[in-house]
């Protein structure tokens, strides 16, 4: 017997999921211990062992892999608790990270924040201006040395930073992704001056190694963020490793990456761990979807303050036209996009008197503290959860398995005072409007996310996760045009479940301009050496790295994606190359055709413009270790009648014109695979409440996932 364990640390809870080689799933949640994340981590692992009927050492001995998505790095950024770093850049460009392409005030800010131009603000920098030095050197766009770099120059500038108290160095020079010679020279000098075996040794991060991509601002910030969180993460993970070893776990901890793969701690760059939890959730959805034949999936996670959206097309997680913003910093990592909007159970409803008494929900949120009025923690504003309670969807005595009693009167009171009275409508109608409005917003945002990636959202299956996902899925799915919604049995620990089966994988990337079809000559590329050379370099890096992880080339799967564009377009379209290498004119034409085909499909044939020239701008080689996750335990579907799971009935409102109607309530723990029922109905699970609206049916599948199907349109 072995176990694959996934652990996902979130802002409020640390989620854990253990999948046995027998396919059995065990999950648990434990409060996140922000003062020391390993405390909550170990407490959760102990709980998993207990639920699996084993002692901790015995359980850990049987754990085959422990995959972990952590927020340590993100927290360090938000709290600005990283080390004092020195940045060495090209002289004349010392202000690049403060200029931030001008609009860095908008990166990571909400739509509402960026609209009010009178109050914009750039974030406090991770590196102070006096900790940035420029070295006299210069490469041009071809990587040719225009100004040589001398050792004396490096030493002088280095001393300046050391004198000012640098605890580590980031080196980011112009065009270093084309020619890293100068960056490497700086690293060599630093290592000679401050050798590793001396106490004064300081880590050096090269932008050309962390992010060999075009665009000096994002490349530099990627390196800066990586260096800023590296030490803190290393400490935290070291402490965790020590505790796990003390508890008899002898294997390396594996970290979940936001690129959709995993790597050992020792082979992981810190910046790739940011926001990995939702990406793991997407992977879990993809895996569950594949078991049901769903390949086009939109993963959603609705919690208290935010609503996350991720697109899985064709069964795969892919990075696509996405500049990830980490905290407030634009970076250039090949992360999978997870869009987060300010909508959740804590979103506050209010009446916009300026706009003729229009009802609004958000962007303000009551969060988890004070939370909705019904939490009775001092919340005085009407929230989405209050509306759900007033509508009868939530059971005040059995919310989250009865762990949190809700004050229904408080919900009614605030909705009455803040929404119903100003609008001159009954409380129940006000609650219904709040819910409809937030559902519409979420659904419309999902629609846009899928559409912007070039897909038809109406053909996608929605996976609804998070504490409020099951409660609102029937509400927001129609705005996507989706007819099928899956509520995974593990919906409240979706990230941990996904992490438990993520394969070893990494993306190797390199910016390089290759003109496949030249505009000035109107002819295809003839010399294929540069293209194939980049691919070979990346392939060599990938295979070498995985060999160090213990995997030979026969176990490695490679996929080449390319950022491509017409002529001087700025934005890029990601295309999967039909083949790794180009062997002749036919391959070049095929690649150009693949780009134009995708472009035409996404943006319309009228938009294509091959005569304008076709460039490759960046190469991404994804190297994955082929591994089949163990099958999940499923129970054969039984008869559809769920009568034995019926736990009662309560009034719930699905149409304010009709008012509340008696609605069947089911106990999720007593439902069995094969059971099906029609809306309206409510299903109370220990971690969420399903709202099956009229016009929808529910069926529990063999893995205890809920399948909601729209029948009314």
């Amino acid at each position: 017997m072995g176990f694959n364990v996934g652990i996902d640390i979130g802002g409020t809870f640390t989620d854990l999921c253990s999948v046995g080689t027998d396919g059995r799933i065990v999950t648990c949640k434990t409060p996140t211990t922000h003062y020391d994340l390993s405390v909550g981590f170990m407490r959760g692992v102990r709980d998993l062992a207990r639920r699996s009927g084993l002692s901790l050492p015995r359980y850990l001995e049987q754990v085959e892999a422990l995959r972990y998505s952590t927020t340590v790095g993100t927290n360090a950024l938000i709290e600005r608790s990283g080390p004092k770093l020195g940045l060495i850049t090209t002289a004349g460009f010392e202000d690049t990270i403060f200029i931030g392409r001008g609009r860095s005030w908008a990166d990571g800010a909400s739509v509402h924040e960026v609209r009010d131009m009178a109050t914009i603000e750039k974030p406090a920098p991770l590196i102070d201006p006096d900790m940035v030095v420029g070295v006299r050197e210069r490469m041009d766009c071809h990587g040719s040395v225009v100004m040589p770099l001398t050792r004396e120059e490096i030493l002088e500038k280095l001393q300046t930073l050391v004198d000012r108290g640098a605890m580590g160095f980031v080196v980011s020079l112009l065009w270093s992704f084309v020619n890293p010679e100068h960056e490497r020279l700086i690293k060599q000098v630093i290592e000679e001056e401050y050798p590793e075996d001396y106490l004064g040794a300081m880590p050096v991060t090269l932008s050309s190694e962390v992010s060999p991509k075009a665009g000096e601002y994002t490349r530099t910030m990627t390196a800066v963020v990586n260096a800023y969180i590296h030490g803190i993460m290393a400490q935290e993970l070291s402490r965790l490793g020590t505790e796990l070893r003390a508890a008899s776990f002898t294997k390396p901890v594996i970290l979940v990456h936001n690129t959709g793969g995993t790597k050992k701690v020792s082979r992981t760059r810190a910046v790739l761990t940011h926001n990995a939890g939702p990406v793991a959730g997407m992977h879990g959805a993809a895996r569950l979807g594949s078991l049901s034949g769903f390949r086009d999936i939109v993963f959603t996670d609705m919690g208290g303050t935010s609503f996350d959206i991720g697109v899985v097309a064709g069964g795969e997680l892919r990075a696509q036209d996405f500049i990830p913003v980490i905290d407030r910093w634009r970076t250039n990592i090949p992360a999978i996009e997870v869009k987060s909007i300010g909508a959740g159970g804590g979103s506050i409803a209010w009446v916009n008197r300026l706009m003729d008494g229009q009802l609004e929900v958000g962007p303000q949120s009551a969060g988890s503290m004070p939370g909705p009025a019904c939490y009775d923690q001092g919340g005085a504003e009407p929230t989405v959860t209050d509306a759900d309670l007033v509508l009868g969807y939530l059971n005040p005595d059995n919310y989250l398995g009865g762990d949190m009693p809700l004050d229904a009167e408080a919900s009614e009171r605030v909705i009455e005072e803040k929404v119903a009275k100003p609008l001159g409508i009954p409380v129940q109608e006000a609650a219904w409007r709040i819910r409809r409005l937030v559902d519409a917003r979420m659904g419309q945002e999902v629609f846009n996310e899928v559409a912007l990636k070039g897909h038809d959202p109406r053909t996608f299956v929605v996976f609804a996760c998070g504490g409020a996902g099951a409660t609102h899925a029937c509400g927001f799915a129609p705005y996507i045009g989706a007819r099928t919604v899956v509520i995974p049995a593990v919906s409240s620990v979706s990230g941990a479940f996904g992490a438990s089966s993520m394969e070893i994988s990494q993306v190797w990337e390199q910016s390089r301009t290759i003109k496949l079809f030249r505009y000035d000559r109107q002819e295809y590329l003839a010399d294929l050496g540069a293209f194939n050379g980049v691919v070979e370099t990346l392939r060599g890096q990938a295979l070498r790295d995985l060999r160090l992880e213990g995997f030979g080339p026969e176990r490695v799967r490679l996929r080449l994606d390319l950022d491509m564009r017409y002529g001087s377009q700025y934005n890029l379209t990601k295309v999967t190359a039909p083949s790794l290498h180009l062997t002749g004119r036919a391959d070049v034409e095929a690649l150009c055709a693949a780009f134009t085909g995708l472009y035409s499909r996404v943006y319309s044939p009228e938009a294509a413009f091959p005569a304008g020239g076709i460039n490759v701008e960046c190469f991404y080689l994804t190297a994955s270790v082929i591994a089949e996750p163990p099958p999940l335990t499923s129970a054969a579907a039984g008869p559809p009648d769920p009568a034995k799971a019926l736990s009662g009935s309560r009034p719930a409102c699905f149409d304010p014109a009709e008012g509340p109607r008696a609605t069947a309530v089911y106990d999720w723990t007593r439902l069995k695979p094969g059971h099906s029922l029609s809306g309206p109905a409510l299903i109370e699970a220990p971690d969420t409440t399903y709202v099956v609206e009229p016009g929808w049916t529910y069926r529990m599948d063999e893995l205890r996932n809920g399948i909601l199907t729209r029948t009314d349109a």
Partner: protein, 689 residues
Amino acid sequence: MSIKYGRDTEVVHRLRPEPVTAREQAAQAAVADLDFEIFQHKMQMIALEGKETTMKLGASTAMRWGDVAFGVYTAQGDLAICATGIYHHAVLSQLPVKYLVKHLKDDPSVGVRNGDSFFYNDPFYGGVHNADMGLCVPVIVDGELVCFIGAAVHTGEAGGSEPGGMVNGAKSRYDEGLLVPPIKVGENFTLKEDLLAMLATMTRDPRTMILDLKARLAAARIAERRVRDLIADKGVAFFVGALRKVLTVTGAAARRKVAALNDGVYRQPRFLDTVGPESQLLKINLAVEKKGERITLVLDGSSPLLPDRPLNTYFQGIIGLAMVYFCGWLFHDLPANNGLLEAIDWRFPEDSFVNAKGDVPVSYAPATQVAFTQGMFMAGARMTYATDPSRAVGAWYTGFAVTVFAGLNQWGEPMADITPEINATGAGGRPGRDGVDCAGAFFATMSDCGDVESTESDRPFLYLFRNFFDNSYGHGKHRGGSGVGFGLKVHGVPWVVLGGMGFGSHFPATLGIFGGRAAPPAFVQTVHGSNAGTLLRDADPRLPNSMGALYGRGTPEEGQRGYGNLAAPPSPFSEGDTYYVPVTGGAGYGDPLQRDPAAVVRDLRAGRCTVQAARDVYRVVVDPHTLHLDEAATEAARTQARQDRLRRAKPYAAFEREWERQSPPAAILRYYGAFPDPAAPATGQDRAA
């Protein structure tokens, strides 16, 4: 008035929403509140998708860096839904659509059908200049024209007698390149190749022209699909009614907001120091009259029409730029659409360069317009201070220190455009805080200045530096945000054409508020036959790495050095020649003597302020080596400065008498009109003479 050929002077006055039709009235009354709220969010999503798609696919500098407006217009042409940071398009981009509705919709030789696409760039309708180009498509459902969808974006090359869209030397509008009123460029969902070839041939950068045009179209087509889905779901009547209701609600909200401001007249004359090819003085005489629910913009007393210089602007362009201030700063919590103009009136003099007529050139209109908008900031600060001081902010830099280039790039490809540092200006100082350093462009709030590497990848330049320019902002209790300076070396091509567009080389363009200082004037340095290449190869440590160092420490660079105005007609530069441009910062807010000395020291340490400015402007005393603050000496210096001020003070009447005797030299008043009041009748006694 209906006009078959030439310009329709009636349609350009239709900036406010068209009268509600009976169809719209009935439809809007039937729209339920909740449905309307959901509709608005959906339409915003559609517009955002359109905007992002346009940006993704476009190629010109403005498109690449986000200078895009995308919207949905009613069947009458009003722009109800708009996603943009260039808010002037929120009221201006409707005019070509209204022209189309008036002249072409029912014309049997043109007509409007599904699958059509219309292109336009005539600034008479677009309101700004030729480089602002638009495209729209109609949406017809069950035989009813329900809306138009379109995108307006600045394409950096319009085929004028100078590259880059703004023609310093234009003597009439026929020197300024493409002038296209709405024409049908596509039918049956297919662009017409003959027309594309014509448009491409008439500009220096045909590839960018076509990529930009296709980007607008592709985005419009995607939005069209979304709108059709929405109509299929909710019905035509709902869509027509809800779209109209957006305008209705916005107009009412704008009036409510205006009503909350104090009544008054807020005057802010503005001056320009160029008419394009030569330095001349011009006046925009702005008065903002606020009464009840309305704000009236009065420009009486502005300089006369410029018969042969391109600083003229159509009046609608001024209204458009007023919307930049309104949408971004005053009405930031309202939808951006032309319903906002329900709270705005205007009055323009007949014979004035702010109300262009006939064939006068207008390609430099953006300069005049941004100068006006800075006046809106300044008048607006006084108008809002008592009721909502958070709106009372200093003006941003104009952005008009624009470098234009044309020729072949290092890949042998034709190009003509502007550099992205137009989007690297500093913001104005604000109550309680400094302006943001290098915040972007106030007239294109979603744009950014990109990476040096992106520019160098397909433009034949090597940046020598791009850093903050210390002291480039207005000093104040809360200083303006810093601007940047950059130096370019022509690299990898035998030659390229370089020039400049802008104003504010002779006196500051960006003035302070509430006692804050102006941002300094800016000028361009050029070096032909430069030895910069050799200095780079030798890694000469004396090479400056910022604009401050260039002018502070000096430079070992040799060659034929020139200093020029920001406005400079393009001329050839050979490989190795250099070009240095400052893009300065925002206005200062409040008296510099009230600035927290610790903030001055912080700026000194960060290189955003010089020791001289600390000493002479802020009267902050620091150790020049350690930069440690001497608090006592600072307090003494400030006390002394205040006493000096009192000594210099004089009664207002005495000041006025002295002031009235002053006059600029006659040589720069050629286009000004009568001095000091340009609109005064000529007296025959030219005081300046």
